[in-house]
Assembly symmetry: C2
Homo-oligomer: 474 residues x 2
């Protein structure tokens, strides 16, 4: 056995509960979990041992939906009306990014994610294979990669809300070919798998969606799509598909509502539609901080799970919500859910931890490999040191305060060790697969150039942030 | 001059804006700010210099309302119905605390606060002078201390909602005497001042409130009180003062609605009452994470400020919201405000930073001493290192991303240096006034004993958490 972690408080997520094991030993061999159980019952000798006394072990956290390349633009677009965020605030900055800038942003985002205990990122990006090759895989994080298929060609901010976006069939099909190449490139990789990525129903033509559905069924693959993002999307759908149609009704007609689909957001769906989606096995990617920051809306994760649906949590992109600290995202998810429902029992800490692990893995379709601490699964796990000013004290009786303190008290600073596929990616809170300082420094340098190149266009776009700068607010 | 911080990006909070100064120098002499301005214009030599290149300086953050002693009980009471939180979850644990446990909890809470850039704590506790003497003052944080005056004598959980709490006049007057002793003890202290602390209108008899008002007016002192905490309080008020009366109407009649009053919470007040409070100069202490976690409610801080009222933010207590990381609290305040109003422009980053500094100081009545970086004020300031995986990149054009990244991206890990009254309390992210590890270790040891002593009573109280433990959830 390569590694044994001894005397640890393990939250295994087994048996549809937290599966709390005190004084547990976790054995790792060849990238798999070889043993999870009582320290007494293990007689195998390990080449290396980590004394887990005082630490808490959980399955690696699963961030189901992120655009990490945009981490380079952190701080560039927030506190503006929803209608301005994409086109007037983020857009001009994003347009100034070169492929190398996107890689630098992804490396910063993955660093932040790993430091907060994330072992799987559901990455969603244009030319995602490059990000995976140059950021995610060398840094050691497991990745479910989605190639963005977006056929909208040219600016849309001059259009009225009921004028359909200009669509380029060729651009869409070309993106689908990149998506196919991605599947081929992932075929033999341990830590990378792929999904189809039609951006959203209003941004991809009907024929292309039908082709994607056919290919997904033919090859038994999944689809990751932004679904029912709100009023603007709804008006595009009615303009393209007719009055009374909705994203969900059209997706149903196209045969896309099935257990192959991971739908991000869903806040534009009605309660009845959500129930139909849940009944059909559609999984939800909820991004509470992002949708709160950009739309002022709390996504319906409690409601979707209440309808029997499976959901994971994602951090989406840094501009707006601020970043990829996944522990912070769990706390935010819980507090937003409580206020949405005026119910302090909504989304308790234990639900947060299951959604962050086994249920997130289910949302990405990899629950057979990761998401719980069980012999035979991949060795993706996190060791937390909660003897920290924000998470102490940790007591085991009359309740395990580690559970609420991990969700409500912690931040990335309490992550001690991260293993992915048995590899120690982070130890003593430090990344082992790349130089943290170099990643931050490169991001700073590249961001200075991107913001400089984009400055005139950003100002000309005239979001409310431009006035705030002139007024001495930012 | 004792100290010069050079080449720093300073957010001074001057001129009713953020007062952003690039490449600034901040001079400190004898506990005061001696100079804040361009690096070129300073010719005084400093005994010590901190190179602020790459750092961001702000006034020290002001946490207006906290019960830090309860940090020892972090993880003991959350995810339960509001009606259970105080009496069935927190109460049995709190009852098992000895004075030394409260000191240990306060030390942990103050440590967490200082590490997140807080230089002033609005502490509210029973026998607060002991906490100040043994935790706050030796650790170096500035404290506005409020002695809890609570006349409720004995348990209340067996009472119907319309049965008035049992009141002990003697207990109330005895607490007022402790409050007077506190004022005397604070008279000559640089970092400690005091407020009167009638706990809440339903917990203090009328005559005592009248006496407090008279003494406050006679000695020109402030009053810090929990106001309009919701349905349970409202029913007590009607039972005691008559149908149709509310907390605000009774406080008005008692002459307590004035600019002497700092009112915590206010979520039970109507919009019209809030306007009357704001017009009268009452300041608000908003505790968004706490009220979200305990009540499932977003406090009306945006609404109160919109009515012209002054507000500060507090972290209240760790059980429930999780702790005293004030940077996290600012982000939470903003995201909750945005979803409450379905408006992503609500409570932007710059408002968060003003509320956290100069407006919080105003809420506590110490804005003449702290809250902005201006020559003559006390040298309470923070240096943030935002070249960190959660807050980079920092660019200055076309906007200062430091402003949003400090609010939306950061956590306590980005605090590099904290000065209070010119003393370096924290440097290189490490506390200089006490041993961090010893504080955490003592809290762990004492919490184990408190939770052990309280275990049977906590289980017997039968909150929903007890069932959750039995079901393997926590």
């Amino acid at each position: 056995m390569d590694l044994a972690i001894t005397n640890v408080l393990a939250l295994t997520m087994r048996n549809d509960r937290l599966g709390i094991l005190e004084d547990a030993t976790i054995g790792v061999d060849g990238g798999r979990l070889a043993y999870v159980g009582s320290s007494d019952s293990l007689d195998d000798e390990a080449e290396r041992t980590i004394d887990g006394d005082g630490l808490v072990a959980t399955p690696g956290l699963v961030n189901v939906h992120a655009h990490t390349d945009l981490t380079l633009l952190r701080g560039g677009a927030q506190d503006v009306p929803e209608i301005e965020w994409m086109n007037r605030a983020l857009g001009p900055l994003s347009a100034a990014m070169e492929p190398e800038d996107r890689v630098a942003g992804a490396r910063l985002g993955v660093l932040e994610a790993l430091r907060s205990g994330v072992t799987t990122v559901g990455e969603y990006a244009h030319d995602v294979e490059r990000l995976v090759d140059e950021a995610h895989e060398p840094m050691g994080v497991r990745t479910v990669a989605t190639e963005t298929i977006n056929a909208v060609d040219g600016p849309t901010d001059h259009l009225g809300p009921d004028e359909p976006y200009p669509i380029s069939e060729e651009q869409g099909w070309s993106a689908l070919e990149r998506n196919e190449t991605l599947f081929e490139a992932c075929a033999d990789r341990e830590r990378v798998s792929a999904l189809y990525g039609p951006q959203a129903l209003d941004m991809v033509p009907r024929e292309l969606l039908e082709e994607i559905r056919e290919r997904a069924e033919c090859h038994d693959r999944g689809i990751h799509m932004h679904v029912a993002q709100g009023e603007r999307e709804q008006r595009q759908i009615e303009a393209r598909y007719g009055a009374g149609e909705t994203t969900v009704s059209v997706l149903e007609e196209l045969g896309l509502v099935s257990d192959r689909l991971l739908g991000a957001h869903l806040h534009g769906a009605t309660a009845e539609e959500r129930t139909r989606l849940a009944d059909s096995g559609v999984r939800m990617a909820a991004n509470p901080s992002s949708i709160a920051a950009i739309d002022g809306i709390t996504p319906p994760i409690v409601e979707y799970r209440g309808s029997g649906g499976v959901a994971g949590v994602g951090t989406d992109q840094a501009p707006g919500p601020g970043g990829h600290d996944f522990l912070r995202e769990l706390r935010t998810t819980a507090l937003l859910a409580k206020t949405k429902r005026t119910d302090p029992t909504a989304f308790p800490a234990w639900e947060a931890l299951r959604v962050a692990t086994i249920e997130g893995a289910h949302a990405l379709g990899i629950e057979d490999r990761v998401g719980s601490l069980e012999a035979g699964k991949r060795a993706d796990l996190v060791l937390f040191d909660l003897e920290h000013p924000s998470t102490a004290p940790v007591v085991a009786e009359p309740l395990h305060t580690a559970v609420p303190n991990l969700v409500y008290g912690s931040n990335g600073g309490v992550v001690d060790t991260v293993l992915v596929e048995g590899e120690v990616v982070l130890a003593d809170g430090e990344l082992r697969t790349a130089e943290e300082e170099a990643i931050v420094a490169e991001a700073n340098d590249r961001a200075a150039d991107v913001f400089d190149r984009a400055g005139d266009a950003w100002r000309a776009a005239g979001s409310e942030l431009v006035g705030a700068v002139e007024d001495g607010w930012v």
